[in-house]
Symmetry: none
Subunit: 277 residues, 2 copies
């Protein structure tokens, strides 16, 4: 055991759990993970409830509390409850003061200000996304993907993260994916097997990556059904595409967060999976 746990803050407890995690035994580690992930459940639940949700016997929960130096579950629970109380308890005065100081620090400290700017920018880009994407286009896109044998993904440069994310999700869902990334040779070779039986998802934003602009028309000419995600109807991947998602107001390359296209491809993939049943 260890020193008295009389007045411990929630954050201190988190630190203590993380520190001790390795030294704990299997069951206790499992509980540690659950407890850090579901602090609200611990704060409000009974031993039996927490035990059931974390998949361990009740006695293990009590042993876990003991291992952390508490007299029992109830004692440990008190710490988790302070977290809930702290969320609402600060009187209006204190909350106002906190916000004001946060505002000040945001103005003063550069990195935090940058983060809040990107967050609010991302927020508005999400709003724009849900307004500008229509059900008809999404339905058409999932129809194309559901008929495809292999799904080819073309997204280079700044759009590459979107392509890799879509590749990851589609593969998790059991789809056959070819990610055109140009490693070990030319992209042309990687895409050579694409036919009318397959499908292509192309992603490109200003300034449109040259290889993307070059390869896209070739695949379209070969009759590959195509879905484009881009920021302008004048982009090089619009002409010939069967479905076009236009995401407006993408900032310049270094400043764009990719939040909107990431969300879109995710919805496409999951929507495809759900529609398949």
């Amino acid at each position: 055991m260890n020193k008295s746990q009389g007045a411990m803050s929630y954050d201190e407890l988190r630190g203590a759990i993380a520190q001790r995690h390795r030294a704990l035994s299997g069951r206790l580690q499992q509980i540690a993970e659950f407890v850090l992930d579901h602090p609200t459940d611990v704060a409000l639940g009974t031993v039996a409830e927490v035990a059931q949700r974390s998949g361990v016997p009740p006695s293990a929960i009590v042993r876990f509390a003991h291992a952390l130096g508490f007299g029992g579950f109830t004692e440990m629970q008190q710490v988790f409850r302070t977290r809930l109380v702290a969320g609402v308890a600060p009187s209006y005065k204190a909350r106002l003061a906190r916000m004001k100081s946060e505002e000040k620090s945001v103005l003063g400290r550069q990195p935090a200000a940058v983060l809040s700017r990107f967050v609010s920018e991302a927020q508005s880009s999400l709003v724009t996304l849900s307004q500008s994407v229509h059900a008809r286009e999404l339905d058409a896109a999932t129809a194309i993907l559901s008929k495809a044998r292999d799904i080819y993904l073309l997204g280079l440069g700044g759009s590459f993260p979107v392509a890799t994310h879509l590749a990851y999700v589609l593969r998790k869902l059991g789809r056959r994916v070819v990610l055109l990334d140009g490693t070990g040779g030319s992209i042309h070779e990687q895409s050579h097997a694409a036919t009318v039986e397959d499908a292509l998802v192309a992603i490109s934003f200003r300034n449109y990556y040259p290889d993307t602009a070059r390869l896209f028309p070739e695949l379209v000419a070969r009759g590959v059904p195509t879905i484009s995600i881009t920021d302008s109807l004048l982009s090089p991947i619009v002409e010939g595409a069967h479905v076009v998602f236009e995401i407006q107001d993408m900032p310049e390359p270094a400043l764009r967060t990719l939040v909107a296209p990431m969300c879109l491809v995710q919805a496409m993939a999951i929507g495809l999976d759900l529609a398949a049943d």
Copy 2:
């Protein structure tokens, strides 16, 4: 009595109490006032405790709950607890909205509904991000990066899009970046040149990619200054990290949108660039 009180919000309950206050009897009015003034006590206390603090016998508390249409004190207490939960979970509202839309399962399967679900989930994850990331950590992270000669990026599996995005932005800003992707050989070889003069940004979420968990400790042991972005203090890339960004409530791999980490790395990179001037 009155209608069923199945799912009542805290605000609705407050309204109901205020409305009925005049019709209640002396003792019950006294309890009503206490309860509105000390909602936290009611949420976390026992009948005996609430009774003592409000200066009434325990049975009066139960009668009060009955008078409001609840089956008993415990039932009424649930409503007061939702208030505490709402205080710490910014995603609470969004989650409720999502559940509501999920109820209509047929509609929930349509691609458009899927998109709006992901959008609202992304929104709440952004709120959580801006609340959980503190200026201190961001400052520490940019300090590490600004001193680094080369910046090594480690993010595999589902986190790879985040790593590639960070790589892209950092390179646009003129930083020297090594993206550890394992192409053409082992990741160990790619990371072999990392020294104490460099820096490492590691990104990993459940289930933690094995190669990441294996490589991370090696780089830490070699003294490379390290920034970790993960979803739990128990993840394998926390121990030894100089700065840890914990992004909670990441859904299961196929459903996570990566919106929060994408925003975070973007802010880190741009913040670094701005601070350098």
